[in-house]
């Protein structure tokens, strides 16, 4: 049997009333499309078409995210650095990243002599593929999810650790000492930070009792975990943010590409579109980890509700769920960008110290606390 790509789950009705109030859902649209395709070409072809639609959507989202995040990063950086930022191409410089993309597309993609050509050219695509795979289980809005996996959280932590392979591959195949050093740093870094990222995600899994992202979002209908879970969840959130910053190789953990030490680290030798793919993969990875953070800790597409303020909750419900999701995600992305333009870079031994001496013990103890909390039912 084919797995349905656009799946419509029966939403657990925790509060029947709320379910009626939430006005706008992608479920109807996807259902209609599914129905129509089934009637028209039959079940098999309908699945194929749905896959194609999903693929096109992902690629489109990719391109869009790349453009938006690059311009966002540049504007955030500029304003923090008391500059204006890009303001020439398009209205207020909003098309600057499009111009950059065109420039990168027409640039010559060089492969250095002595490089391992196959691995060298493969590495950026692996980075991209990993980022694309990670898109699958993310719930972008209510009932809008490509693949509602029952082990979504596990899937994300499993797939995201493949990204280190692309970096190692790029570093080794470039035949460049800077690249090699950068890749080795990155390997050590991502492998270590996976641990505390995983542990802080586990805190939410323990509280929810499910690995499925849909269930996790549903469990936050009466309040996001960051508010419901007391201090332990806040600690888990902070460790998560630190760990994913490190995992995506962003400053202050950008040792893999530390330009004052390694010029550009693992992508020193890359140019043109191959460089752009790495660049894009980095930004999409940032988006994905922030989306996961938003889903786990900030309730995904769930609107913000305050206890018994019926009127307020009502208003919040009228804001579309996709806006809630993207709002939360972009808030987290802003946090990560804000870190990048504020902090100096760590040294490699300090980076590992931070993980093994601080983050890991803290998140372990924290997980214990969360478990106790979950068993005793102390959370709201």
């Amino acid at each position: 049997m084919y797995e349905r790509i656009i799946t419509v789950l029966p939403v657990k009705k925790i509060k029947e009333k709320k379910q009626n109030i939430t006005v706008w859902s992608f479920a109807d649209i996807s259902k209609t499309i599914d129905q129509w395709l089934n009637d028209w070409v039959g079940a098999t072809w309908a699945t194929v078409f749905e896959m194609v639609i999903a693929g096109v959507c992902v690629i489109g989202l990719f391109a869009l995210l790349g453009l938006v995040l690059v311009i966002m990063e540049r504007k955030v950086a500029a304003w923090i650095q008391i500059r204006l930022g890009p303001n020439r191409v398009g209205p207020k410089g909003m098309l600057q990243s499009l111009a950059d993309t065109v420039k990168l597309l027409v640039k010559e993609g060089m492969t250095p002599d002595g490089a391992d050509k196959f691995l060298f050219n493969l590495a950026p695509f692996i980075a991209m593929i990993v980022a694309m795979l990670l898109m699958a289980p993310i719930a972008f809005a209510k009932d809008f999810q490509m693949w509602d996996l029952n082990v979504g959280v596990l899937y994300i932590s499993a797939v995201s650790s493949i990204s280190v392979i692309s970096i190692l591959m790029a570093g080794w195949a470039s035949n460049n000492k800077y690249s090699l050093l950068g890749a080795m740093r990155s390997g050590a870094q991502i492998v270590s930070y996976e641990l505390s990222a995983g542990l802080s995600v586990l805190a939410i899994v323990v509280l929810t009792g499910s690995l499925s992202l849909t269930d996790i979002i549903q469990s936050q209908q009466n309040g996001w975990w960051i508010f419901k879970g007391h201090i332990p969840v806040i600690i888990a959130f902070i460790t998560f943010i630190i760990a994913v910053t490190a995992e995506t190789n962003r400053a202050p953990f950008d040792l893999a590409e530390a330009e004052s030490e390694l010029t550009a680290g693992f992508h020193t030798e890359y140019s043109g579109m191959k460089f752009a793919l790495f660049f894009l993969a980095e930004y999409v990875n940032v988006f994905i980890v922030c989306a996961i953070g938003a889903t786990l800790f900030l309730g995904g597409w769930m609107p913000f509700h305050i206890g018994s303020w019926e009127g307020f909750n009502h208003v919040m419900d009228y804001i579309p769920s996709s806006i809630w999701f993207f709002g939360k995600t972009f808030f987290l992305i802003f946090l990560i960008m804000w870190f990048r333009w504020t902090f100096p870079r760590l040294r490699i031994d300090q980076l590992l110290n931070l993980e093994w001496k601080y983050l890991l013990p803290i998140s372990m103890i924290n997980l214990l606390l969360v478990t106790v909390m979950a068993i005793m039912g102390w959370h709201f």
């Binding site: 650095q81 500059r83 004052s260 870079r345 760590l346 031994d349």
Partner: protein
């Protein structure tokens, strides 16, 4: 590279940092032997921006050669010019008017602040924080504007001439400097908030690039880099020139000897320079800005040596004169050259990240090293 790594038994990696590298702020070329991330040896290769200034000066007259020295340590161009002017004045025994002396000291200290501002931003940038660089430039630009107004140029002013300064102060000078002082006092605490107090920054700097006082003296390290190890080496205090002996300021000393100590010395030195500027800005005496000198300067036969304190350390100007209009031999003892010689000693055994931290606190200006 695969073969190369396999060949060296210990797995040492030889890396070229520079001549085009973000951390070297110029065309310094360091050949680094690494074992993993640990530095085993640093070997500087110089000469990428060597313009043979000493040889050029041999064919320039005593008025002309001063402009070339702006191009050595371009961040403290005024102080370089000052050293040359002082050396010529020492040889010719020209008495400089009081007003010129005060103007020179004011300009020197403003240059020192500007130089340290740039260093601060570049230092933070070396360690991966980009924002401070732009914030440092806000204050630095103000000084550059003041320089532009009075001297006519922002970086290579050629303002000091034997016997005084080239032009009188601009009428707006005092007002602009006072505005700068207000701006500086409003913004200086942000430096601590953004960089000094930052835990990542402190961890990157503390205990990194240690150099003992004995080594400081032996390697001839001068300036803030020496004072970070507790070696008193401020020429303004030890061998006062111009009016420095009449001014109230402290020689900033730290004893830790690591990068953080050198960092703190520079930051606090900016405060001392501000103190000097505050003392002088309202007390500029009236009078000539230039002593009456002959059109053609001729130094008597002999040797003349002056030492001044630039933003980076001790600058020595050694003129050997044969009695003609041009120097027979001129030697610039540049602070960066000696400071660089200690780099290998400082970073050996440290991590690659420590190299940029140590190099940043030495505040190397490559044209100053190469001359």
């Amino acid at each position: 590279m695969f073969e190369e790594v396999a060949k060296t038994a210990e797995g040492d990696l030889v890396i070229n940092v520079g001549p085009q590298h973000p951390a070297t702020h110029g065309v310094l070329h360091l050949l680094i032997t690494l074992n993993g991330e640990t530095i085993k040896k640093v070997e500087p290769h110089l000469g990428y921006i060597h313009r043979s200034i000493e040889k050029m000066c041999e064919s320039l007259t005593y008025r002309q050669f001063i402009y070339v020295t702006s191009r050595m340590d371009y961040l403290s161009a005024h102080i370089n010019n000052h050293a040359c002017a002082l050396c010529v004045e020492k040889g010719m025994q020209i008495e400089v008017p009081d007003r010129a002396k005060v103007i020179r000291v004011l300009m020197d200290e403003l240059t020192r602040i500007a130089s340290h501002e740039l260093w601060w931003g570049a230092m933070a940038m070396d360690l991966g924080a980009f924002t401070p660089f732009f914030h440092a430039f806000r204050e630095r630009e103000t000084i550059n504007d003041i320089m532009e107004e009075t001297c006519g140029a922002r970086l290579t002013m050629n303002y000091m001439v034997p016997g005084g300064v080239m032009q009188d102060l601009h009428p707006d000078f005092q007002r602009r400097v006072k505005e700068f002082l207000v701006l500086y006092k409003r913004k200086i605490h942000e430096y601590d908030e953004m960089v000094t107090g930052n835990i990542i920054f402190q961890n990157r700097m503390k205990g990194v690039g240690y150099i003992s006082p004995e080594d400081v003296i032996s390697y001839g390290v001068t300036g803030p880099a020496a004072r970070g190890s507790g070696v008193s080496s401020d020429i303004r205090k030890l061998y006062p020139y111009e009016i420095y002996d009449k001014l109230q300021f402290d020689e900033v000393l730290e004893t830790a000897g690591d990068s953080f100590a050198r960092y703190l010395v520079r930051l606090r030195e900016m405060d001392q320079s501000i103190r000097i500027v505050e003392q002088l800005i309202d007390n500029i005496p009236e009078g000539d800005f230039q002593a009456k000198t002959k059109a053609v300067l001729k130094l008597p036969k002999g040797e003349f040596y002056t030492r001044v304190e630039t933003a980076r350390g001790e600058l020595g100007v050694y003129i050997v004169s044969e009695g003609g209009t041009t120097p027979y031999r001129i030697k610039f003892r540049s602070p960066g050259f000696s400071n660089l010689s200690a780099l290998d000693h400082m970073v050996r055994g440290g991590k690659l990240g420590d190299l940029v931290a140590s190099m940043g606190t030495l505040d190397l200006v490559i044209p100053d090293i190469d001359r």
